[in-house]
Amino acid sequence: MPQEETSDRTWLRDLFDAEHAPIWRALLAWTGSPTVAEDAVAEAFCQAARRTDLRDPAAWVWKVAFNLAGREMARRRIDVALPEDADPAADDATTLSAATLDLLAALDRLTPQQRGAVVLVDGFGLPSARAAELLDTTPTTVRVQALRARRRLRTALTPIEEAP
């Protein structure tokens, strides 16, 4: 829906209500960090609040949020030397359910591209072309990475799901 400039910012609130939670969940699964997800999605909406030229605000916010989260994760990888067995979500994931933490742990074993592909395609039902836009790659790459991720994720989650 094209953005309409209104003084009461109704469009922004509507956009927030519709997209905030899904974007946060997608970023949480992609980055493994509730903090990064929260900051990126909030910042994306803050930037959207200052824009008046967005033809597709929802797509724009998704894209900006993924850009910001990706950069933050890259910065963390550079700035913070985590031990190999460190859980990136451990410091700020206490409010998440055990099942979600299991999922994040399984996703953490994937490469970022695999994780992004399987999260967006399988987790959120996005077409590969749309996922490719968010991940700055090609639809073919998304399909291949999602396939590989599916296999690895299935292996990682099988013992959990089949446990009595």
Binding site: H20, A21, E38, E43, R50, L54, K63, A106
Partner: protein, 198 residues
């Protein structure tokens, strides 16, 4: 293995509260007189430069319109800017593609610099032009952060406060004789040619 959707727990998670308050505050603070960088932080008042910066933004928006409307990617490189004697107005106003992932963004010192720099996509090549009465060859050099001390991210460079919120960019510091449009354009064109050959 069961057929349970492994992402079901994720969809049951609820984002932490408070995000809307932050967004609403940002919307109310989006007032004229400040430049806002990529991270959303408000930069110094631009005062008399506001009109110039607004003109540059309009050029960028016009470029977006010519490309078929607002792009989901907000990082639209912009070309010409002319401020304080540092002019690159001899350049093509459209982005200068080097390849699919690298885009040359001519920048400049002063308030216009951050405007163009913050529109640089990650991986872009940002050309920082420095004015001076020097020989182009002597001052043509190519460096990349973090070795480039001239334009540190969010730091203070030789030209004064100069936020550069585009991590992953390669910054090319170039200095053209006299800072004329022709000299700067020549430097930019040589950089583009060199990148294209690399």
């Amino acid at each position: 293995m069961t057929t349970t959707d492994p992402f079901a727990p994720l969809h049951a998670e609820v984002p932490p509260p408070g995000a809307w308050a932050r967004v609403a505050a940002a919307a109310s603070e989006a007032e004229p007189g400040y430049l806002v960088d990529l991270t959303g932080r408000r930069r110094r008042p631009v005062g008399q430069w506001m009109a110039v910066a607004a003109a540059v933004v309009l050029v960028a928006l016009a470029g977006v319109a010519l490309r078929g409307g607002s792009d989901p990617d907000p990082l639209v490189p912009i070309g010409p800017c002319d401020l304080g004697g540092i002019a690159v107005d001899g350049l093509d106003p459209q982005p200068i593609p080097v390849d699919a992932t690298r885009t040359v963004v001519p920048s400049s010192l002063g308030p216009v610099g951050p405007v163009s720099a913050f529109r640089a996509r990650e991986g872009a090549v940002v050309v920082e032009l420095f004015v001076g009465d020097f020989d182009v060859d002597a001052f043509f050099r190519v460096t990349a952060p973090p070795d480039n001390e001239i334009v540190p991210r969010d730091g203070v460079g030789t030209g004064g406060p100069h936020p550069h919120p585009a991590p992953g960019c390669t910054t090319i510091a170039a200095q053209a004789a006299g800072g004329t449009s022709e000299a700067n354009a020549e430097v930019i064109n040589r950089i583009v040619a060199a990148l294209g050959e690399s």
